[in-house]
């Protein structure tokens, strides 16, 4: 495993604050981005996380497909939210599985949106049940799925934070700043 220096200064300055500051993915998608920047997000515990994300990507897309194809009129808002959840799970899965800088940024955004979605839809489904004639993946804070949808984005964000560059396997504590979103 040859390991050219990962440019710690560049990484430390660019990542936590401004995602929009990033260079276009096409230019950096090659060797440099896939080199080891901290720990990869897609091995070890990360691979188990990817497995669970795959399960939810399948569950949510199957659910949304059936709902929208067979009875869209019954609860369009709920079913569109199911579809949105499905897309987010898929993109988060891909982001985590890529394990490079672009994938990491994608996953951070997806996990954040996902967490906000679970909290928002969960709260709305309890406060204004009339909005949701049928359940989505995120209704009742993911209660229909053992509350895994509530826990999953938190695990994802914690994992992304732990594997950031500069944070060695020894674990947290060396970085003071939290991972921005959430």
């Amino acid at each position: 495993m040859s390991e050219p220096a990962p440019r710690p200064v560049d990484r430390a300055g660019a990542r936590p604050t401004a995602p929009e500051h990033a260079t276009p993915p096409g230019d950096r998608g090659g060797d440099r981005a896939t080199q080891r920047l901290g720990r990869r997000t897609n091995s070890g515990p990360g691979r188990a996380l990817v497995a669970v994300y795959i399960l939810f990507a399948i569950a949510a897309s199957a659910r949304a497909t059936v709902q929208i194809a067979t009875r869209f009129d019954k609860a369009p808002v709920a079913y569109l939210l199911s579809a949105l959840a499905a897309v987010i799970y898929i993109v988060a899965t891909v982001g985590l599985a890529r394990g490079d800088a672009v994938g990491r940024r994608t996953a951070v955004i997806c996990c954040s949106v996902e967490f906000a979605g679970v909290l928002g839809v969960g709260a709305l489904s309890l406060l204004r049940p009339a909005l949701f004639p049928d359940d989505t993946v995120w209704s009742d804070f993911g209660g229909g799925y053992g509350y895994v949808p509530l826990v999953l984005p938190v695990l994802g964000l914690l994992w992304l934070r732990r594997t950031r560059s500069g944070v060695a396997d020894a674990g947290g504590g060396s970085r003071v700043r939290a991972a921005g979103p959430r």
Partner: protein, 121 residues
């Protein structure tokens, strides 16, 4: 649906989940026994799928055909998914993957039974 096969497709994954949990606790990667176990589970759920489709062709109908098909497709994909990911991850986390997927399979089978039996949506 065939009751024996349905029971087996709930019980066998639970046994395999327990077995891979042992490997997880012992900090072992999944070994041949887990992969063989996944293969056996796959055979059982395939048999379940075939009997269900045969019953469907024979005149019985699932209560909610779309959902039923979705669960059936998902079900037969789960053991191979666990196997592939477990082989990619020859650490204790591979055993975690087998455990998690094997805990999901019984849930899918139960949902499958519900969409077969419950009339209406």
């Amino acid at each position: 649906m065939n009751d024996l096969l349905a029971t087996l497709s709930i019980a066998l994954p639970l046994v395999l989940a327990a077995w891979s949990l042992v490997a997880t606790i012992r900090n072992r990667p999944p070994d041949r026994s887990h992969l063989v176990g996944l293969a056996v589970v796959e055979l059982v759920v395939l048999a379940l799928a075939v009997t269900a489709l045969a019953a469907w062709a024979g005149g019985e109908r699932p209560a909610d055909a779309g959902t039923f098909t979705g669960y059936l497709l998902t079900l037969v994909c789960l053991p191979p998914l666990a196997g592939v990911l477990a082989r990619m991850e020859p650490t204790r986390w591979g055993s975690v993957i087998v455990t998690v997927v094997c805990l999901v399979i019984p849930v899918v089978v139960v949902r499958l039974q519900q969409t077969w039996q419950v009339p209406g949506v």
